[in-house]
Amino acid sequence: MTRNVVLYELMSLDGFADDPGEGDWFGDADERLIGYLADVIGRQDCVLLGRRTFEKWAPHWPSSTMQPFADFINTTPKLVFSSTAPSLDWPGTTHVTEPAPAFVAGLKQRDGGDIGVHGSLTLARALLAAHLVDELRLVVAPSLAGGGKRPFDGATCSASSSSARTAPAAACCSTTAAAPDHVHRRRLTHSHIGI
């Protein structure tokens, strides 16, 4: 029994994934997007966070009433990956100094639900590069942000299947199962683009 690592990212159409609270491209979530998020987090019983996301979220979510994510992230066991100890306290958080790929590979072997990765772009890239991500849950906002941070820089993986639905007028939700055993590269040509 192995567990799936599920990467959930909010992205602009041109592939940037900065914190939507800081980027103005994302727009408002409607009930369909909330429903999609609820479905994703409903399967997760563990969350992996990078240091930067942790330091943004630890002061924010404990007092947030934005549901269903606030209850989920405040009560679900969280692992924060950082070589140095986080300066902030957030109940339910365990600090991990071990390199993320080796630690997560072990975590996947234990029983449990999905392991969620939210935001945490550096961590996400490391896990993608190590072929430890089993599923991509991408919410694509209908906007060209023009610049920012790309979650997929330097990562390679191919995916076996995908489904898409237009959730709000605002976003397209895409579910893609990663198939790390069949890694290949392709250049981006014409209007055919990779994820």
Partner: protein, 107 residues
């Protein structure tokens, strides 16, 4: 079908093509056409048009692969360009087709 070729170096084009040397001037042939003008080009062609905010819609086919390198389809832009999601569908369980229209403020 009227054709225009975008190039800064080409001076003659066969196939009845109009040469457009400046992306900002592509509106001339586009406005002269009855229907939509389609752009079949590489990322640098589309980048030049996107930077000039001359693209009214995108039809994008997304393949389920994270290539990890290559030329990003969309260029860095000075300003955000909001779109409206028109359509998304999955063709064969793998490839996703996306259609967007540029959302412009009408005056």
């Amino acid at each position: 079908m009227p054709r225009a070729v975008l190039s800064r170096t080409v001076t003659e084009a066969d196939w009845d093509a109009t040469i457009v040397t400046d992306a900002a001037r592509v509106r001339g042939p586009a406005d002269a056409a009855d229907g939509d003008t389609h752009v079949f080009g590489g990322s640098s062609t589309v980048a030049a048009l996107a930077e000039a905010d001359l693209v009214d819609g995108y039809r994008i086919v997304v393949h389920p692969v994270v290539p990890g390198g290559g030329t990003p389809f969309f260029p860095a832009l000075a300003n955000r360009q909001p779109m409206t999601s028109v359509e998304s569908r999955t063709f064969d369980g793998r490839v996703t087709g996306l259609r967007y229209a540029r959302a412009r403020v009408t005056s």
